[in-house]
Structures are given as C-alpha cells and as structure tokens.
Symmetry: D3
Subunit: 179 residues, 6 copies
Amino acid sequence: MKIKTPKIPALFIGRFQPFHLGHLDALNQVFAQEDYVIIGIGSTEDDYVPGNPFTAGERYQMIEAAIIGRKLGGKIITRESFDILPARNIHHYSLWVKHIESLFPPFGRVYTGSPIVSRLFEENGGHKVVPITKSRHISATEIRQKMQRGEKWESFVPPFVVELIKKWNAAQRIRDIAG
Amino acid sequence: MKIKTPKIPALFIGRFQPFHLGHLDALNQVFAQEDYVIIGIGSTEDDYVPGNPFTAGERYQMIEAAIIGRKLGGKIITRESFDILPARNIHHYSLWVKHIESLFPPFGRVYTGSPIVSRLFEENGGHKVVPITKSRHISATEIRQKMQRGEKWESFVPPFVVELIKKWNAAQRIRDIAG
Amino acid sequence: MKIKTPKIPALFIGRFQPFHLGHLDALNQVFAQEDYVIIGIGSTEDDYVPGNPFTAGERYQMIEAAIIGRKLGGKIITRESFDILPARNIHHYSLWVKHIESLFPPFGRVYTGSPIVSRLFEENGGHKVVPITKSRHISATEIRQKMQRGEKWESFVPPFVVELIKKWNAAQRIRDIAG
Amino acid sequence: MKIKTPKIPALFIGRFQPFHLGHLDALNQVFAQEDYVIIGIGSTEDDYVPGNPFTAGERYQMIEAAIIGRKLGGKIITRESFDILPARNIHHYSLWVKHIESLFPPFGRVYTGSPIVSRLFEENGGHKVVPITKSRHISATEIRQKMQRGEKWESFVPPFVVELIKKWNAAQRIRDIAG
Amino acid sequence: MKIKTPKIPALFIGRFQPFHLGHLDALNQVFAQEDYVIIGIGSTEDDYVPGNPFTAGERYQMIEAAIIGRKLGGKIITRESFDILPARNIHHYSLWVKHIESLFPPFGRVYTGSPIVSRLFEENGGHKVVPITKSRHISATEIRQKMQRGEKWESFVPPFVVELIKKWNAAQRIRDIAG
Amino acid sequence: MKIKTPKIPALFIGRFQPFHLGHLDALNQVFAQEDYVIIGIGSTEDDYVPGNPFTAGERYQMIEAAIIGRKLGGKIITRESFDILPARNIHHYSLWVKHIESLFPPFGRVYTGSPIVSRLFEENGGHKVVPITKSRHISATEIRQKMQRGEKWESFVPPFVVELIKKWNAAQRIRDIAG
C-alpha cells in the first residue's frame, strides 16, 4: 500500500475584507489553471477595526458561500476543489512566507495580484508566482467606505455574500467602528 | 436565489503530535454521528520542541493522509466530509473558545476526550460537548518517547502517517530536539 | 456565616488620553443611576505615542484626582463608589469583551458613548449597554492637538487634572512625541 | 484649590492561585504598618492551567471577599483601605518592575515574602522593600494539589474564599485541567 | 589579573530606513566626542512595510558599509570604534529604555536628534543625553518617497549604501510595497 | 570606488547562561577555522528565571570580557575578530533560522554543538553547519545548580567572567530566583 500522492494545491491568499467580485474574477483565473486551490485568509486576528471589519470565521463563510457550486475556470467548484485556511498576521514580513509554509500543507504555484506578496514569495523559497490580471478594478477599501457612508455596495460583492453581510448587519457594524 | 444553508460542521480539536490510532478511533466515533467535521489543529505555532515536534503543515498532511478515502463511522471519507483548520495557542485559556469561534466558521457539537476542553466549551457559549470514549489508550507523549529512545512506534499510528514520519526523518528530529 | 453579596458594579470604560470634562459629564450620568462603578482604563500599554501620550498609571491618577470627593450623580464620590481597573489592548477585538470579563470582577450594566464598544458588549455575552448622552462635544484628540500646538487646553479638563498634567510637563511631552 | 495629596499606597503583589490564609497573614502584617495598600494581582492572563487555574477576575473576587469588613493589622478593612490592580506577566523580568510602575499609580513601600520580587524592586528604581514574615507555611501549590487529588483543602483558605471556590466548582476544574 | 575596564561606549540609536547622509553627519558629531559608539538599530522586526522597508540585517550592512574605514570626528573608523546592535520595538514606550538597558552592555552618553528619545532617556535612569545638531535636513521618509515615485534619491545616502540599495533592488521593493 | 567586500562572518550561537569554559573551547575551535565570527546571543528577553538568570546585556559583557585580548584558534582576538549580536526567542522554531537571517548581516558557516540547531540551519536555507567537538563536558545547567546550592562553580568559567558574576552578586540572584 502506497500513500496516494495528494494533488499539490495552488495558493491564493488575501484578506477578503470583504470577499468581492474582484476576488471572484481572480479565482476564475486561478481555477482555469488549477484543479485544487488553498484559499488563504490573512490577518485573521484583525477584526472590528476600520480596515478589517470581518472576523476570520465570517470571511471563511463569505468565500465558501461565494464559490461552492459555482462555475469557475470552466468547472463546478466543490469541496474537492479548494481548501480555506486562516493565517494570522505576524507583523514581521521577512518571516511571513516561512510562517505560511509552516502553517499550510505544501503548495505549488502562488496566485496574487499584489506586487509585494509576489516579491515575498519569489524571494523566499523561490516560489513560482503567477500574476492575476485585474479585469476590472474593485477595491475592498472602497466597498467598506460605501458601507460606512450608507451608499450602495451590493453590486460589488457576490449575491450570497450580500446575504451574509446583511444577516450580520455588517454595514452598520462598519459605521459603528467608524463612529 | 437563496443561500444554501451549509451543513453545520461538528468540531474535533487536538494537537496531533503526531496523529495516531487513538485519534483515528475518535474520528470513527465522530463520523458515526456527523456528516461534516472540522478537525481543528491546536498550538499551530509550537513545533521543533519536545512536546510539539511537528509543524502545523505536517500535522495537516498526517490527518489528510490518514482519513481521505478511509471508511470511518460507516462512510467513506472525502473532502466533502471534513475540513482541517489551524489555530494557534493564545496562552490565555479563558479566551480560547472565543478565539476558536472567531477563527472558524460556525460549528455545532464539539467532540473531545479532554475534560478541560470539554469544560471550556461548555462554560463559554454553552457549546454541546460529546465525550469521546477512548477504546484503547494510545498517548502521543508515549509515541514521542518511543521515537526518542529509538524504540518501535510504528504500530501506534496509521500506515500513511508512518510513511510521512519516515519521509520527514522525524524520529531523528525528535532525538535531535532531545539531545 | 454567609458571604456578603457584593454590590454588582457598573462598567464605564475609556482610554482617558487625557481624562476630560466630557468623561466627567459621562460619569455624572453613570453615578445618577449606579452606586458602584468600575472605571476601566483601556490600552494601558500604549503610552508616549501621539494618540496615547499618558501611561496607565498617570491616567489612574487623573481619574482619581478628578472624582474623589466630588459630587457626581447627586452623591459625594468616595473609594466606596468606584474602582479603577487597567486592561491592555489585545488587538483582536472579537475577543475583547471576553478579555475584560476575564480580567475584571463581574459587572452589570455597561455605560459607553462609543457605538462599537456598545455593539461588542451586546454581541458578546448579552451585556446590557446604557448609552451616554454627550452633553457637549469634548474630544481628547482635540485636547492633545491643542497641547501639541501650544494652545489653551486647560478649560477642557477638570482642575485637578490640569495640575497633574502641568506637574508632569505633559504638554511638552506631547510636543516632543510629535517633533 | 489645591489637589489633595493622595495617600501613597504600599504595594503587596502576588498571583493568589488561590488566595489563602498565608496571604491573609501577610496582609495582616502589611495593614499593621500601612493605611492604604495596592494589592497587585500578577500573571493575570494565565488561567485554566495547572499552576494558574483561576482567572484574574476570580482572584479579584477572592481577595475582596476575604478582606472587606475584616480586621487586619488592628483596623477594619474597607474600600478606603485597599485597591486591587491586575498586571499581566510580561515574561521579560528585568522590565517587570518598570511594567508595574507604568501600570499602577505611584506606590511607596513594597511588601513581599519572595526573595526575587524583593531583589527586582530593590535593583530597579530603588524601591524600599519590607520583608513579610511567614508565620506558618501555606503553599498555593499544595492547596492546588490537594484539590486535584480530592483531599481536604478548605482549612487553608479564608471561609468566604471557600464559598467562592465551591460556587465555581473550581476543585473539579483543577482536576479537569490535570486530567 | 584584573579585568580590563572596557571603554564605556556612547549610544546612538535610530531606525535607519535607510541610513543616509544625515545619519553620517550625526555620527561625525558623535565620533568627535567619543572613541567607542554603540549604534543601536531600532524596530528590527519591522520590514517590508512602507515606513520600514529594510530588514535589520540590511540596515546593519548599510551602517557598516558607510562608516568602516571612513574618517568621522577626525579619526578613521574601525571595528574598534563601534558596535552595531539590533533592538526590536516593544510598543510600550515607558518600558523602552529599560528594554535597551537590558539588551545592550552598559553605555554612557546618549546621542540623539529626537526630542522624545531624548526625553525617554532622561526620564528613565537619568541618562545623559547629548543633542545632535542637524546640519542640513535629510529625511528618511522623503528618501523613501523619492524611491517610491521613481525620483532621484542617490545624492542623499552614502555611496556604499547606494550600491547596497541597488544590489537589493530596494527602490523597486518600496514601489512593490506601496503598490 | 567599489564597496569593499566585507569578510563573511561565521556564526556561533548560544544562550550563554553563563558563558563558560566549554563555550571558550568551542570558540577556540571556531577561530582556528575562521577570521571573523558573529557570536549570537539567543533568548535575549529571558532573564531572572531559573534557566536564564542573566540579562542579554550581562551575557554580552561576559563574552567580551572572556575573549578580547585572548589567544583563540592561534590568534589574538580583537574587535576585528568578532561581533556579538542579540536575538530574542520567537517560540516558533520553524521560523527561527529565518528570524536570525532577518536580524543579522549575511553569515557563512554555522558552528554549533547542538543537534537541533544544526538540523534547523541545514533544513532552512541550506546553511553549512560545522559540528563542535566537546573536549570536556561543561554544562551551564550544572553551573547554575552549583550556584544555587552554594557550591564551587568558579573553575568552570573564565576568570574575567568569574569577576563579573561576583560583581553582580549573581550566585545570590540565582538563589533568590529559586527561593
């Protein structure tokens, strides 16, 4: 009996404050090239502050609700397609890739739209980084600002994520944090 | 369009230093009662020390290798059946359950063989705790001691975990830590 | 012999950088409804920085000097009326109420003028929160800015607190921090 | 109007796991020489572990219940006589006295039965340390061990503290932690 | 045999993000008055962020490259003239001087151009602080901004430091962090 | 003008609680093969506890006093021969080598008598590790135990270190910590 070589997952990492249509577009690109993806949630202990209003557990739920059963990269996404893994911010960035390597199972290609995340993975351990093409500009910062000002934000996040944010009354939470 | 109510997972949490047949027996009991289980890895930042020789990423691999495709609780375990989630030790235990609640998505029943974990989940948020019956005594501490002394340890861990531990040369690592 | 049921204190929590007349107005409202109040000092390890120039020990002295022997809520405040308790900032806010519950003795109603503190106490453990009516707007941020610019700030803080701040030469400290 | 010079408190500091009759004897000696005492609770974030089973909030309640209204050092203890202040362990002991000085209001003489606490206060800032004479040996470690083994422990702690420990079912908690 | 009384070093401390000609001017003043200087690198764990792009190890190399063999304060600088020592930021500034005293060997005069560093050393342990005269204004913040905007920055740092920054491709790193 | 390629230092790392003749023997072996050595002090924030009684600053002084001007590896040791650098313990050992690489300037061969330090440096970044031959067994643990029990310890540490330990009255400190 031989251990089944597990599929080596790709890594896509973000803070997802909140998970929005730009993230979904990115995952569409990732799943077009990969069968199995670790979606890493960063800064998991940062919550209830202006730049990070959602808990890690809430962000997990947003990602899961947005992608399970959805067609991304030409295939239907199931639990066999992805894994969501939380990682806290260690605030010592030259150690950050090693921190991720220590916490997560081995991963292959790293997908990111962030130049500094890209640089860190390339400089540390020689990870292969695949750039994400931003098809249209959607910014989590702007979405949070719209929530804070009581403006429309719903068209920038996937429908199931809209439902969750409303269930949590999180736009009001963001106004409370700001106030 | 309505958000699909996700299955509420149960929670089974441990340090898995290493994952052994006692853990497998416990998961057999859990899966007999649950369809979907979060397997929480605790103390993820403790590694390369006598009581915690394995990294979180290695422990993830041990659990995955031990249960995927295996029959537990009368059903074949697939990625649809479980989720492995890491959580660091915060060393302030009256906050620990809240820490887990913040990091993980919502969970239902908590399965544990540890009296203090049981107490913490019951005292904090009134979680329903289901005790694990230890069918036979297998101790991770004793397995590590056997590794350290160069004794036979292989019969206490699942075969695929034996392979991983040998691939990592981890019995020697444990002797190096001790020496 | 039976343990005397201690009076359950109310909780009023702030950073008090510095303690000013707005805080005194708030405590006037609290003591009108409560006989015994825990005054919690938050972010106790933040000091000598622009937003938090005073140490926890200095903030303790400011509060004590401002309220002992003073008439608040229609009664003379003595050591029987209040307790000042420090709590550090844990920078993981979904755990913050649990952190306070772990550090302080049991408390009843929570008085706050902050929407997010209010929300956190209501969401965690179902604390009863009583809103503070801000009779006039006094902002610690503005007081610190006045100190930094060498403007008049003395009319915004209680007289005994003015004395302490002058004794510590703290307006100069704030300019040094900024400079 | 002149600020009333507050009474300079003495400092008596311990972990109080639990508060026992030896602590009460010590406070009897302290109050014989002092009118106003800060009772510092150390290691406040350590709880639910073998050496530190009680939370800081519980330890606060034990101290308060044990001394309020009691005659110590020849006087009846009221809220005018003492202040209970929590301080976390910073695990960098050459900074520890400075940590206490930063958190607490100014204090005068330091009472302790611990040689290393005595040394730290004398070496850092030249605090005047007054040794405590241990009238009889009572050890918190032994009390916890008695609780763990199910032996009689009640005669070593003040009656009101016995009541609290029983109300919290804390002897069982200690057995759960150990088991 | 008697222990040779070591030369008591002076202390010059900064973050050196990056080391620039203003720092070199300051060291010129220091070495005019001192034979042996500890150059303390602060905030050593802050790197790869906008305000702190360089690692502690890189900052060590910049300082060493800039001063070894150079004439400063009228003498040729060798390894006999200085010592470079790293110190992390503890984010509790009233303990910061004690933190430095604990980490470094005993030092004498403290040279700084920062009013708050000056105040902290004078208030804690009565260190003798010697002010640095800023001969011309060079700001590390502005140098980083120039790098970020792709402007000329080379004339503000010593030639050997220019070489190192180019070798590390660090101007691009700063743009990646910003982007 | 070209930057002078600095000599690449070797690394020798330990806790030095206290620095003893075994460390001196080890440095004798290191300097026989190396011209320039970084002597790294680990666990710098651990002090005034049984296993780590000395501060980082005191350990720096012990090392300096023991080796400056002494003949080691056939050459007279001067400030040109070594550099002493402190590094705190991060308690996440799979990140530890990266932590050292981030804090220190680039180093070449790593000398150690510890199997786990050896393994960590080899597994992380492929450092070349040179084993130290322990010419005779001297243990810092045993030296501390002798100090604690009031036994003779002076013959196990270099003469100048004896002087420092006596100046600091550190044997008594160790007894105070234990008592």
